[in-house]
Structures are given as C-alpha cells and as structure tokens.
Amino acid sequence: MALRALVGVKRVIDYAVKVRVKPDKTGVVTDGVKHSMNPFCEIAVEEAVRLKEKKIVSEIIAVSCGPQQCQETIRTALAMGADRGIHVDVSAKDSETLGPFQVSKILAALAKKENANMVILGKQAIDDDCNQTGQMTAALLDWPQATFASEVKVEGDKLTVVREIDGGLETISMNLPAVVTADLRLNEPRYATLPNIMKAKKKKIESVKPADLGVDTASRIQILSVEDPPQRQAGVKVETVEDLVSKLKESGCI
C-alpha cells in the first residue's frame, strides 16, 4: 500500500537568533529577524522522505500556515524531497494569534481533503514550545497518535513507533491512518543540495485560505504579557577559602 503523507512545516525565528521581547510586552520582535524551518519539522520532513525512499510513502505534501514568507519554508521542504506544497495563507497580523488549536483544525481539514494516510509533524515548535498540534490534530481526526517518535516502522497498514518517554522508550503499534510527531533522535535531517533546490523551484505550491477549508482561525487565547527570563544576578568574588566558607555560612548554604 502506497501512502500519502502530510507533513507540517512551521516557519519560526531561527534557532541561532537571540530573541528579543517587544517593548510593549505583547510578543517578540520578528521584523528583520532571520527565520527558518522549525528543527523538529525538519526531522518530520526527513522521516517522510526516508519512508518515500523505502517506497512506503508515494507522495509527500508539505503544509505551512502563515504569511507569504512561509512559501520559503515549504520550498525548503520541497528541496528536501517533498513532492508538493500547500500554503495556508494567513496574514502576518493574524499569524500572531494563530495557535496550535487553529493549526490543528487546518491540518485535520487538509488531511481529509488530500486523503492523507499519515500526518507527520514536529513534536513542538521552538518558538512557542506548545507541543499540542499533533495531539489535537489526531483528536480532531479521531486517528491514533504516536508522539515523541524516535523510530517509525510501517508494515502494511500497521504503524509501529518507538516513543521517547520519561526514563526510557515505549514501543506502540497502531493502525493507519495516524498522526506521528517527531522527537529529536528520530533522524538527522539532510541538507538541500543544488540539484534538489533547482528542481524544487518547479514543484507546485498551492495557496489556500483557512476559510476555503471551513476553518475559523479566531483565537480563544488572550496574551496578557510576554516577559524576558529574569536576568542572572551578579556573583561575589572571594579572596580566600576562609572567605568562601564564611560567605556560604552567611547565605545559609552550609
């Protein structure tokens, strides 16, 4: 059975960028900041491409929700080996309030529309750290889910996934269709090389609006405040071991 995989790719602030909070504390500064694909989404794309190379998956559709620039993220997925893309066009302003619930509804609608057998997502995004989209997508579709995957095997319509859990690994088996979320150790994503980038330019990216999918993207969450983590306090220098011991006694550490 050749499967169709839907892979979510989120455009986030690049992992190497020092994130700054906006002065009005409503969010973080995104203007003029380097963005790239969420690293967990890269792992999800890589796993889909590996399944395609094993001839288990026949088509990979990369989906991203957000402003026009998301097409660059989709293009990266196409250069990694995805077959076509779907850009769910949400304005930059509306994207600020686009959370896991809204994205799950979009992904669930697309999974049905495209007759996907498998939805592969990153376990979480490095910007909001929510870790909810995969779970909610599975719930909305009423499909089984395998979160925090560190190994994925497909045999017929049976999916076996090794999951990273507290203190060890758990192996579970389920029927397809299913939702899988990728953990860090699932694989090491490949780099897009020149011939792949060249051919990816010609792959199709379809653009749809959430309303076309019958999805209401209104947010149910109000952001009250976004704060920087507390600054680390300056330390104290001590000259001798005796000084150190008395300081430790003073602070009640010993």
Binding site: V49, K52, E53, K55, E59, I60, A79, M80, G81, A82, D83, R84, R190, T193, L194, P195, N196, I197, M198, K199, K201, K202, K203, K204
Partner: protein, 243 residues
C-alpha cells in the same frame, strides 16, 4: 616602487579587458565549463564521460542568485536523461540510421548515446545557451565531432520530420509539461514520430494525463550519487508515448 607596481598591473588589466570581451564568446564558455565542472562517470552510463557540477565544484556551494548564466540545468545528469541514454546505448537498433531530436538536451548525454548507437543525424535542442557549449565539450570528451545544437524554443513551433524524439526529465514543470504534451502529440500525428520519455516519476509526470498513453520500456535503479541529487527518488524509467 611605483613603476614596479605599474609594470605588474599592466598585464593584469590587459588580461581583465580581454576576459570581459571573451565573456560572451564560446571560448569563454568552454573555459568556464572546464574550470567549474569535472569529468564524471559514476552514473547509469559509465561508458560516457560527462562534465558535470559536483559537490567538489565551487558553484555547487554558491547561492543560486550568484550563479552566472542562470540555473545550470545543463550541469546535472538528471535521472530521466540517465535512463534515456542507458536505454539508447543498450538498444542501438532504436537509433540506427534514424534522424533524432534530443529535446531539452542538457549535458547532451542522450544525443551522444544516440550518435554512438549509429543515428544518421542528431540535433540537440535546449533553451539554455550554455548547454550548447557543454554538449560540444562532452562530444569531444567521448571522441565525437560536436553535434549540431539549437537553442531556440521549438516546443509548439517546429514540427519537422523526426524519426525519433527523445526527452529526459522534461516533465518537472507543470506549464512545460502541458505544452510539451500537445506538441509531441502533433509530431506523432503529422510525421509518425516515435517519442521516448525518460522520467524518474516526478510529481508533474505521475499526475499528468499523458500517463494513460505511456508504455514502460525499461526501468533502472538510480546510482547512489543520483539519489543524493534527487531526494526521494530511487529509480528511473523510459516510456514510449503512444496516443
């Protein structure tokens, strides 16, 4: 000191002026290709030596917007072209004494394979002008006289008589695929041309209506290097188009 500098600079600036004048000429293109590609044989047709872009070449690592002469489609041996050239080398009776058009010739491998197989006339056509220079160099590298080359877009225009039209990896672009389909149909209707298509199963080819009128002639596993250049693809095939 100054005088010494000037004498050093003079031959340099002369060289610079000459190189600018030469930039549009065939000689410049030849030296550019020779400088920025390497001879490769680890593909489906190892008997053909081809000048190609590899990870050991500078432009492999340069951002696309800095590439001179646009995207170097001519410098990659695409899986569809590899299948086509392999098929022609293995089945010389398909090309012997025939008039052949290699459409979207790229590095020229299929055209070269057709000539080696005994074709009476081979014309390579590619809208990328650098492909012509690459074809000439690759012909020489394989002991052939340079094959004729045409850089005009003949899809939809020219329907001269060809016994055989071969095309490799031309269904990667949706718009191109549609125009191509109509035109190939016309060539077959008007001249009874045989059409062979090499494709590794790219999206626009698999989903195209042309699929219903294709017969698979041969299938090949892709060598490791080609898998690395075409993520997600593992094999390639030659199809006969019979509407």
């Amino acid at each position: 000191m100054h005088a010494a500098c000037r004498t050093l600079l003079r031959p340099l600036s002369l060289h610079f002026a000459l190189s600018i004048r030469r930039q549009t000429g065939a000689t410049y293109l030849h030296s550019f290709i020779l400088q920025h590609t390497e001879v490769v044989t680890n593909h489906l047709t190892p008997e053909l030596k081809l000048l190609l872009l590899t990870p050991r070449c500078k432009y492999w690592h340069v951002r696309p917007e800095h590439w001179p002469y646009g995207d170097p489609y001519w410098a990659i041996y695409w899986p569809g072209g590899q299948a086509m050239a392999r098929y022609l080398l293995d089945n010389p009776e398909v090309v012997r004494h025939k008039q052949i058009l290699d459409l979207g010739s790229g590095c020229g491998a299929a055209a070269i394979a057709a000539k080696i197989g005994g074709a009476s006339y081979v014309l390579a056509n590619d809208i990328h002008p650098v492909a012509g220079a690459a074809l000439t160099l690759n012909c020489k590298l394989n002991g052939l006289q340079p094959l004729p080359f045409l850089s005009e877009n003949i899809i939809g225009v020219d329907t001269s008589h060809w016994d055989l039209i071969v095309l490799g990896d031309m269904f990667y672009d949706e718009q191109l695929a549609d125009g191509l389909h109509q035109w190939l149909r016309r060539c077959i209707d008007q001249h009874g041309t045989t059409v062979l298509i090499g494709d590794p199963g790219r999206g626009h080819f698999i989903d195209h209506p042309i699929q219903k009128q294709l017969w698979k002639m041969a299938e090949y596993s892709l060598p490791e290097s080609s898998k690395q250049e075409n993520y997600g693809l593992t094999c390639t095939a030659v199809w006969k188009y019979q509407p």
